[in-house]
Amino acid sequence: MSEIKAIAVGMNSCGIAAGAKETYEAIKRELEERGLSVKLKIVGCVGMCYREPLVDIITEDEIITYGHVDPKKVPKIIEEHVIKGKPIEEWVVKRDWWEDGERRTWDVDGYFAKQKKIVLENSGYIDPENIDEYIQAGGYEALKKALQMKPEEIIDVIIKSGLRGRGGAGFPTGLKWKFTREAKGDEKYVICNADEGDPGAFMDRNVLEGDPHRVIEGMIIGAYAIGATKGFIYVRAEYPLAIKRLKIALQQARERGFLGENILGSGFSFDIEIKEGAGAFVCGEETALIASIEGKRGMPRPRPPYPAQKGLWGKPTNINNVETWANVPWIIKHGWEAYASLGTEKSKGTKVFALSGKIKHGGNVEVPMGITLREILYEIGGGTKTGKRIKAVQLGGPSGGCIPEYLFDTPVDYESVTATGAIMGSGGMVVMDEDTCMVDVAKFFLDFTVKESCGKCTFCRLGTKRMWEVLDKITNGQGTMDDLKELEELATKVKAGSLCGLGQTAPNPILTTLRYFMDEYIAHVKDKRCPAKVCKPLIKYVIIPDKCTGCTACAISCPVKAISGEKLKPHVIDQEACIKCGTCYTVCRFDAIEIVDAYEGD
């Protein structure tokens, strides 16, 4: 067994939330106490968020990763593995080794088996606050190569690679660059859209926190190809760690001459500024984002003119999303052929997804385009946490749609996903099981768009509100079949009539649930029943006398004192007083509380 080079703790936001800081401190203390001089460092997230905190023991030819490492596990790992050199096999969740210069990965869940890492190749393997680690991993080689090429050649490579916008719309990146390069303007800009705002999406955050230089390098290459002199990273202020690491990375890149005047002696000058967004979802829309950078209220404007013609301060501007930029260095380094060999005919390369919701293995995954949803959800994601059947998956956040289980063999590419009524989106994948009410899901996403509509155009500002109100009526058991017709008609019109992408896609959650889960809508409307037992006005909690032991746990925890009964005798719930909070259901240890239809037998 070879010498331990370093111990690394996954310290992206996800890891920190799972307790990685405490783990890191515990390791540090343990090493100090034992007088060990092993290097301790941070890395980004390797994607296995569901097993965090993750700790890597790094040797020359192998990385062994432990999962769920809380401070209590630390002494044993140091004792057995670091000192005695004997890995604790039952805690190992992942191993990496190298064959023919390529990194190979095994993991206990089979999580990585079908993944293909391009954007995330360094995530979880390098210290994001140390430029040397990026450079050692081959970073900035693509930039050096690009600076030897003509701008047009670079654009040509990107066009041939087939890379399409990873923000969700899927516009060919190379073409966008070409338009901006060819647009007339004394000054041009590139912007990185890091205003990741979909509920359940954390791909961009992960890249920015785990491998910020990759994005910066992509932007420098793009700026050189386009002829831009200035770049902006528009990142939401709710991502403080990403901002911190970006700032460090930009500073380090400037110190090494990758940014600033006369980059690497090429004569090309370019720098990047960070703009923090104030948290308006609509600022992810490119024209609103530009307005926001200009210091105006973040509201979209009609296109054309497209930013490539008239963007930031009226100058030609190229906007790409974090993931798009992060693909660029790999394509330049490995050539367009390597990239285009991945994926499907029209969708090349890989796509990063954030798995969340009821999924067993929640985290970031990067898969080749064309993989099926079923492979992602079952083989990588491991199905649901509860073992229940996956009912649907929501792709694309509030702009996306719900795809039902019977369409899980749909290959993941822009065209196939769009055909289902959902959108590829930026990569949020929210998994739902039988306990999810699809009408409630639609209402949840609508609630989001109602609040996040910028208020400018009629269809979005008022249409989303009125659609939400119909959904509210339905989930309250007051809907009619006419409401369903109205809802579909209005949704179709809001989609067709809204000014920007936000409004044009806001009806998608409604339209797809109406399309695939009409039976659930009808149950709410006709039978006044919520099949998933989620919609509060349509359910009630009852105690099964035969199962109730009279332990009083429910009565004690009920916040409105709606449960009564003698000790050791079956209790009852006063339905008038019950607020349906579900606390009793959670605390009962005897499965004596049941959720039933409020209007049973009506």
Partner: protein
């Protein structure tokens, strides 16, 4: 220039202009609220949507390319625009017109003429009244004032005394040389108006103001119809009636009195001689009860009784008179009989609340000594050749009937008797179906059958209105149908009646024809404009200062019953000016140039299509010239963009997001704080 195909037709448009601008310049109808040719296209209102082969697009941003085919008014586009309008209306908290104007059968601009009265501009007030009705001095006395019952002051204390204010202004106008309309040169078209009552006079007047030549054919010796031969002079002095009618006739209307249709002239002759005919011969036949004893001497029809008294014929009444009925005619009969010296009892089969008569007049009758027996109905009139007593049965109220009033049901065995010398029936009037049928006009239940929209009868070019169509109604309702008939006859004379009918029925299917034809446009906005309503309760008016309504000035009852002198006196000017000030001006000041209302009318957008939460914003009235009312704002953004352009940021901008978005000066400030904003 490039060629584009607009609704299937090739059109040359300049390359450098957006299609909205080019097409509007060519006279095409493209709605829109946010577009301003001096500003960058903004795209907020979504009304200028057109369909292109690539989908729906805003024409304010669409630049023409050679061969581009667009549809500007197909079903899909109309439906999209209607939805956009309905969404705007779903969060538009305001009234288009005051409820008074809506309540008035003639939809006269009450708020407008009250404002003129408040300024002492009485002739101008009358002029404004006469846009929608004639005979204001008459109406100032006899109108039941539907406007007052709708007045929002009802939610504060009491309604405005609109009728009395009208009376003052109209009297002033008559006394000081009445305002007269300008009559355009003759169109050469001739219209015969049969019947010189309120409907006939109104139709004649409005046809005159459109330049048509009109002849009124009147069966009676004098004009006025029911106003002269029905309404007693203590309510409507004849000199007032004469003067008011004179302002109508003096517009140049030919009058033939003592000329009766069917006796002195036939409809055939009229149709031959004139280009159109308007029938407003009223409903002069009294309904019978169909009970035993109705043929006895001393039983009379109310309408016949009033006609005789009003014509000065001698009518012999006994000591005790029973009047049957609960309408205005019953009250007029009772009070007239009282003035002739009888002891009068009114018998009505429902209770006081259900009485169709004006409550004001019921009260006045009671003060004068008329007795009322409610919930009773005659079943038999007893007597030997002559009325001696009336047998009645007590009634109770059952389920509501189709009129919404509770149906009276006899209580078995509750019969009782009243001694009487006369029984006067005032239970309804009608026009003889057989008379109408003989003219060749379809009739039903004593009314002429007309097309609801055009008022045309089954005979082409023959229109009808007033009581003949409505059944017994009020002066203002008759005037309203007379005016409507005039509009329709004008369209008929121009050969546009059928088109207008279709346009009025379904405006959104005829938008192009309407916007390109002034006559259609005018009649649509006259008769079927969109009206937005606030849903309000007393609570909304808690902050309004209470100001008591002016007291009606009635002569003492004992003096009133001495004869037929007018019972009510005119208010003083001081009282009038003070009362007019009470108007809360509920209607919108921008109603005449409001694009939202215009489009909502054309596209048949409905206020309540999308029900849900509405925003309630405080109105910013701090600025001397500008009022910022976010309740009515459609967030087109033009004020924001214009002020940004002219004065830079920081004047007005959007505030908040989503459904609660509004226009506001910088947070914490008001428009009044904005120097130089106007």
């Amino acid at each position: 220039m490039v060629k584009v195909i607009v609704n299937g037709k090739e059109v040359d448009v300049p390359e450098n202009k957006v299609l909205l601008q080019s097409l509007r310049e060519k006279g095409e109808h493209i709605p829109g609220m946010c577009y301003d040719f001096e500003l960058e296209p903004y795209g907020s209102c979504r009304l200028c949507l057109v369909e292109t082969p690539r989908g729906i697009a805003t024409s304010c941003t669409l630049r023409p390319v050679e061969g581009l085919a667009i549809e500007t008014l197909n079903e899909k586009i109309i439906s999209m625009r209607r939805t956009a309008l309905e969404l705007m209306l779903s969060d538009h908290y305001g009234d288009c017109i005051g409820p008074c104007q809506d309540g008035c059968p003639a939809h006269s601009d009450v708020q407008g003429y009250l404002a003129l009265i408040a300024m002492g501009k009485y002739h101008e007030a009358v002029k404004l009244m006469k846009e929608k009705y004639i005979l204001p001095a008459v109406l100032g006395r006899v109108c039941p004032a539907f406007c007052e019952s709708k007045c929002r002051r009802n939610l504060v204390e009491e309604p405005l005394a609109i009728r009395q204010l009208k009376r003052f202004a109209a009297d002033y106008d008559l006394e000081h040389g009445p305002w007269m309309p300008e009559i355009p040169p003759s169109t050469g078209k001739r219209v015969a108006v049969v019947g010189g009552g309120p409907a006939g006079l109104a139709c004649a007047y409005y046809l005159r103001t459109m330049g048509h030549d009109v002849t009124i054919i009147e069966a009676m010796p004098e004009l006025g119809g029911m106003m002269r031969y029905g309404i007693p002079p203590y309510r409507l002095p004849r000199d007032v009636l004469d003067k008011d009618i004179a302002t109508v006739i003096n517009t140049g209307i030919e009058v033939k009195t003592n000329t009766m249709l069917g006796r002195d002239i036939t409809l055939e002759e009229l149709r031959k001689e004139y280009d159109a005919v308007f029938l407003a011969i009223g409903a002069w036949k009294g309904r019978k009860m169909g009970i035993e004893g109705e043929e006895l001497e001393g039983v009379m029809q109310g309408i016949e009784f009033l006609r005789k008294v009003n014509m000065g014929e001698e009518v012999k009444l006994g000591e005790r008179v029973i009047v049957v009925g609960g309408g205005n005619t019953a009250i007029d009969v009772a009070r007239t009989a009282l003035r002739l010296g009888a002891k009068v009892t009114v018998v009505y089969r429902r209770s006081r609340e259900e009485m169709p008569a004006n409550p004001r007049e019921v009260e006045e009758a009671e003060e004068e000594g008329v007795e009322f027996i409610f919930l009773a109905n005659p079943v038999k009139i007893h007597g030997n050749g002559k009325v001696e007593k009336v047998e009645l049965i007590r009634m109770k109220l059952g389920e509501p009937d189709e009129s919404g009033r509770r149906r009276p049901v006899p209580i078995e065995g509750s019969n009782f008797f009243l001694e009487a010398d006369n029984v006067i029936l005032a239970i309804g009037q009608y026009c003889d179906d057989s008379f109408l049928k003989a003219l060749g006009i379809e009739a039903k239940r004593g009314k002429a059958a007309v097309d609801e929209i055009t008022l045309q009868t089954s005979l082409e070019g023959v229109f009808a209105g007033g009581d003949l169509v409505l059944g017994p109604s009020t002066v203002i309702e008759s005037i309203a149908t007379g005016r409507k008939a005039a509009l329709m006859i004008d369209l008929y004379l121009k050969g546009k009646l059928n088109k207008a009918r279709e346009a009025l029925l379904e405006p959104s299917k005829h938008i192009e024809e309407i916007v390109k034809d002034d006559d259609l446009y005018r009649v649509l906005f006259d008769l079927r404009p969109y009206n937005h309503w606030k849903d309000v309760t007393e609570k909304d008016y808690e902050h309004v200062e209470k100001k008591p309504r002016v007291k009606a000035k009635l002569k003492p009852a004992e003096e009133r019953i001495k004869g037929f002198v007018e019972v009510e006196e005119t208010l003083t000017e001081e009282e009038v000016l003070k009362e007019a000030e009470r108007c809360m001006s509920c209607g919108c000041m921008e109603v005449f140039r409001c694009k939202l209302r215009e489009y909502a009318t054309l596209y048949e957008a409905k206020q309540d299509r999308f029900k849900g939460e509405t925003n309630r914003f405080e109105i910013d009235e701090t600025h001397p010239n500008v009022v910022l009312d976010n309740n009515k704002c459609v967030l087109c953004g033009r004020c924001v963009n214009l002020t940004h352009e002219i004065a830079g940021e920081g004047v007005v901008d959007y505030l908040f997001r989503g459904f609660t978005t509004r226009i506001s000066p910088p947070l914490g400030e008001t428009l009044g704080d904005m120097d130089g904003f106007s």
